[in-house]
Amino acid sequence: MTRQTSVERSFLAKNPSVLWFILILALFTLGVTVLSEAYGVAFLSTSFVKTLGKTLCLCLVALAMDLIWGYAGILSLGHMAFFALGGYMLGMWLMYARTEEIVVAALAQGGLPATPEEIGQGIAVQIFGVVGASELPPIWVFAHSFWAQLALVVAVPGVLALVFGWLAFRSRVTGVYLSILTQAMTLALALYLFQNDSGLRGNNGLSGLQNMPGLAEVSQDRVSVWFFWASALALGLGYVLLAWVVSGKFGSVIRAIRDDEQRVRFLGYSVEGYKLFVFTLTAVIAAIAGALYYPQAGIINPAELAPIASIYLAVWVAIGGRGRLYGAVIGAAFVSLLSSWFTGGRAPSVPLGFYTINWVDWWLVLLGLSFVAVTLFAPKGIGGVFDLWQGVRAPDRKGAALGPDDGALMEKEAKE
């Protein structure tokens, strides 16, 4: 029998964090359910259940960010654009189908059965009256179909990522230039969506997304828990999928690309192909997270695609610890919950006598300082705590240049 080494053992044995993660997520889900208004002792308010559900979605998009940045080394600052696009795609169906119900009910009051034209007209005016239009834009052609819009949740961000990534990676745009390009992408998309004739209601965005079509009688107490469950399931599946992706030879190759892409080319791997694959896969995961997030938020508008949103995403992953999946989850959960506590006005102000620190204004400063501190003093982020605990010390990624003599010395040492 040969020596047991890391390549040989099974997926779960090699990734103990997966079992731990699923266990903790399951317990958390159970706990929230038991404490919810609809299914338990009503300790947690419905709005807090929604906050927790949204947080799980943010953890999922942080996982995607960790794959592309932490593992593949591509600092994309545009992934929240894919997240928002996913939300818009599902939001279109939610808004259309809900409005259809309302319009049909209203027309039924008139006595005569309404014609499909009348219904269509009514929906268009209801949704687009706010931007002064009375016809549905062509991009709403599939909005009546849940399954079609669900497919678009994946297809629209996926194709955008594929085209953008193909153009960028083919020209070998890397490093800070790629980051700037992704910022430009999300900014351009946001500016486009802000226009009233973009077909997505301009700066009004889509609203009322918390109302589920066909479930008008079901209270939000219940719906919020259902979405919480769906978010937990998506996060769990996403974690297992990404843990599998990074654990095998594919993970090896993308980490190698992060550390020395030229060397990977000389091994025969098409670096651009791998980057494109990871970019598109993570865009799709981000889109799915967004499709689950916005029905819990109730509203989506183009401000969600602001460049700063994607920068926050990178900050979460950096604080949590990039290059390890649970680090991204910890960072996203910790920072986003803290952020909503500080900006929600619930954090007590700090009176200094001459000045009062009001956290709604100062939270961003605190976050920025934490980011700088983590980057400088704890590059492994919060996740690094687990290394201390396990006593793991990783070597530097790039070895220092050793002269021939140094090398010979180390060789001797190694033999001793």
């Binding site: 890391s6 030879k249 550390d259």
Partner: protein
């Protein structure tokens, strides 16, 4: 014997500086060749051209029986066509284990989709272990490459090259930073590898080249100055002037 690699009339200019000047070079399918030349002669640039890292301004580079032009291929395609390269400084993936480094280099499908669903078969395992054995790293498979000594990293990189099973191997200054015993081991390995493939070795050290006991090409200012046995080229007056004469 027909040539495996055929480089003809190649020139490269960097910002007006001619690093390679109408260079022609060819090597057979099972041949060992040493390239020597003073610093800045263009040895590394020559390897950059063959591996697709640098595009020449003029000339042609063809490879294999069907004389495929390498100039229209990407670095990765050239590597897949069977050209392996060892860099001057050891470049291994320090954050990954020796086993992972070797596994990545193992000859196999390289497309993302295939790699994603790749599963290690027992023969892959055996091959990785055999390679590690061959380069003296059998006891280090689960260690991170970053923890290895300089010489061991050199060996790991050679192991990765063997794993790729290239038909043409370009080796840039392999003996740098090696102890005497390691150099001898390296020489033997290069001679052995050249029995089944073409091997081009760039080296400064004359003793090392002598032990390789093969045909030598002398580069100077981006062009071939002389070619033949080591004794033959070291007698060449021009070679003595530009290179050996300077000690």
């Amino acid at each position: 014997m027909s040539a495996l690699l055929e480089v003809s009339g190649v020139s490269v200019t960097f910002d007006g500086f001619r690093a390679i000047n109408n260079l022609s070079f060819s090597i057979g399918a099972q041949e060992l060749r040493a390239i020597i030349g003073p610093n800045g002669a263009g040895k590394t640039t020559f390897m950059d051209i063959v591996t697709g890292k640098t595009r020449p301004d003029t000339g042609s580079v063809t490879f294999g029986e069907r004389s495929v032009s390498l100039l229209s291929l990407s670095e990765a395609q050239i590597a897949r066509a069977g050209v392996g390269r060892k860099f001057q400084r050891p470049t291994v993936f320090e954050d990954q284990t020796v086993a992972e480094n070797l596994t990545m280099a193992l000859k196999a499908h390289r497309a993302p989709w295939r790699v994603l669903f790749w599963k290690e078969r027992p023969e892959d395992r055996t091959r990785v272990e055999a390679l590690a054995q061959e380069v003296g790293l059998a006891d280090h498979l689960p260690r991170k490459a970053g923890e290895l000594s300089h010489g061991q990293k050199q060996w790991l990189e050679i192991g990765m090259l063997l794993a790729q099973e290239p038909r043409l191997l370009l080796v840039d200054e392999p003996a740098a930073g090696m102890t005497l015993a390691e150099r001898e081991h390296t020489t033997a390995l290069l001679v052995e590898m050249a029995k089944t493939r073409a091997v081009v070795v760039v080296e400064h050290d004359m003793e090392f080249v002598r032990r390789l006991n093969c045909k030598v090409t002398v580069l100077h200012e981006g062009a071939v100055l002389a070619e033949g046995s080591l004794d033959h080229v070291t007698k060449n007056q021009q070679v003595i002037e530009v290179y050996l004469g300077r000690g």
